[in-house]
Amino acid sequence: MLNDANPSQELKEAQERRLLKAWQTPKGWRYWSEVNNTSVGLWYTIAAFGFFLFAGVLALLIRIQLAIPNNDFLSADTYNQVFTMHGSVMMFLFAVPIFEAISILLMPQMLGARDLPFPRLSSFGFWCYLIGGLFVCGSIFFDAAPKGGWFMYPPLTTDYQTGIGADIWLLGLSFIEIASLAAAVELIVGVLKCRPPGMRINLIPLYAWYILVVGAMILFAFPPLIAGDILLELERLLDWPFFDPERGGNPLLWQHLFWIFGHPEVYIVFLPSIALVAMIVPTFARTRMVGYSWIVLAAVGTGFLSFGLWVHHMFTTGLPGISLSFFSAASEAVAIPTGIQFFCFLATLIAGKVTRSVPILFVSAGLATFIIGGLTGVMVALVPFDFQAHDTYFIVGHLHYVLVGGTIFPIIAGIYYFYPMVTGKLLSDKLGYASFWFLIVGFNVTFFPMHISGLIGMPRRVFTYPAGAGFDILNLVSSIGAGILAIGFAIFLWDFLRPRKRQPYAPRNPWNAGTPEWLAHSPSKPWGVRSVPEVKARYPIWDQPNFVEDVDEGRFYLPDAKEERRETLISSIVDSVPQYCHRLSSPSFLPLTAALFTGGTFVFATFHYWWSAAICAGFSFATIVAWLWTGTATIPEKPDKRIKGEQRAPLYLSGSKSVGWWAMFITMLGDFTAFASLIFAYFFYWTASEEFISQAMSREMITLFIASCCCGLLAWLSTLLARKLNKWETSVLYFVAIAFSAICSLSGATLIVIALRNSGFDPTADVYPAIVWVISLWMGLHLALGGVMQLYCLARKAAKRMTGEYDIDIQNVSLYWHFAALTTAITILTLCGFPSLA
């Protein structure tokens, strides 16, 4: 008989043995099949730092080239590749992924969970990121790298750069964006559903609040870029003239789509780093965070306002003055929530008794540096000032103050802080102080003079400059500063990587922190937490009596793994009441295989090897189906299990209580945002051009479009009916309904293709037919994909892997169909209805 309140030593050891067996990391070559957050998060972090160092070396090449006037260290063409890769790698392969990496590594511990809900998705995201990143970075060694700047403006990247570089950027980075969306799904569901019992929404670690906001921002920021990537790649590949003014296109559309992504992106990289600060400050101030609610306000408020700033990157494009003023106003307003959180941090430091340490030093460096960048940000948010400073080195100085102060310094602070939690060993204080001084001095010497060189007129992205124009000394100083900065990073890197076999393990919770991640043992155990705690305070280690002991003794939830399966608790969103025990995926090579084939699809497509790309896409699809079939919505061997004492929880729930339902909902929000971006493009063209609707749709085309829409709506309704019939266990009728819905979906998709083929709309002739093709193909693709999902549900029921009670598959597919039906209706209303109104 188990006694969770006071387990015997023998029972405790047996429980730990079983937990260890369930969570042990595979050995040998099978190590790479591991999906646990501690391994995947570590690989992710190391890879992100690898890319960071690569981009750092590129930055040094830039500074060597610019150290003296008329330098020929790099040719103009190589320089273009180097600065484009520096920006792209830093933003896409370091700044965003490092937040995902750190969150995957640390968040389960912060939430007192065993892992995030979809470990294989994290693993898939990581492998996609690594493959895509290596592909993009590798291009520079073959003189084939992109060279249009990190924002790839057409017509530069369409008419003037015909090499493969822009395709590598578009396809390689689109592939990586999949990893970001996967991480967003994982992290949002993690924060909402994987919290420990009792951790109400007013008690969650501030890090989790920030990650929730940033995850949501990714859902709405990345899809516009994906939509833009699709349009730009279609123009480069098939000559569809989305950005060609001679055929009705408009290069400004790319700028809109890029910056609708690009400005929130700045906050997507800033907020998670500030989240680290929010975890570090209370620990070293030895007091609770002042103004918890105000920081939540700041995180949520910044998340929203950051979407109203994108045009401040486009102030010089000739938009009407009043339009610019709206964005200038929002750019000023965003300083308010940003300032609020800084005041909360300062108030906490003042209220507490600060202990001197390397992490808090880097935190203070980050805050001070970011404030300088923030103030120059307020300056460039003013339209008249921006007219003067746009595309000068002032902007380069500003953005580096923001990104290094708001991201790099807090991340280094976070690494010093969390290193002992992950490795069990402390980093060196001496080396930490040394690297701090080199970094802070080197950084300011490098980037402060750029403000002045910009104000006296030095444009950004020039590969050299003439002597005597006033730029000589300032650039030399910047280059010397870059050398000092590099020494600082070298010291930090040495400390990070040096062998530590003889160094003793750090004590557990060496900083005496109060949040649940510091329950981790030193060295850490693969299971995360010994038992999933009941949390009643924001700093439970400080405030809950016997908290650590109770966790270690297994007195809380899931102290055992009787079936030797990996499990974590899923709880309600607001009050974190346990709802069910979620069986997590075991190690598998399927995510790696799927990522390899998906990567192959993108890589072969870049080089126009269409057959190879198609074969890879087929294998990728098959691998993902195999992964879903064998690893998701598995019917448990028993309906429920004991989770604590006599308290039991089900092993399977469907609908809005299940994590899968939330994952589908979140994914479809992102998908729908990409669709909305295409619709935005349609109306943007209409607004910007007098003759956008250049040809009328034939009666036959309209009829086929409406027929396709009807098929889509019928498929949606019959899916909902099938869901009901499945619940009632009326098998035959279920099979009829779901088969009928699949036929409708696939017919709808086919009708779209027929309508387009017979339409006489030539997508290369003008932007109007091109955008009609893209939007209707998007709808057709969603109908086809919905059809495949319906066939999957049919097969699951036939294979008895889905029943009336265990019905996650049909529940989630129904949710998909709500969005697909909405997409279908909006597509047809826009394409068939709007021309008659316009």
Binding site: V300, L305, T687
Partner: protein
Amino acid sequence: MIYQGKGPSHESKQSLWLLTAAPMIWAGHFILCYVTTAIWIEKVAGRDASLLPMRLTIGGYTLLAFIGIGVVFGIGNRRRNLDTEKKSTDNDTPDCRHRFLGFATILLCCLSVVATLFTSLAAVFVQTTH
């Protein structure tokens, strides 16, 4: 068992969506101002026309936005004042969680009002389409 509260603070009556209501109103106001102005200038009046009708329209949008944010503020304030004796939002009780969500809603309303005001000030100061 985790206590989920009773009456208005019961978990079933809570939602995080309320937090997003005021910033959503700001976003709606912002997009409406941007889109209406763009259509007015590019499709209706042209770049040399008077901006007065647009300025009045933006005034109308702003009034509606303020009313909307005011309603959300009222809901947030009721939640915050659940139990006037206690004001804490830090403890492990459904009432504290309820007050926390109310207080955070109020703060977001204040930020949204300021941001909406900033947007509408553009229509006060900018008098031409250039």
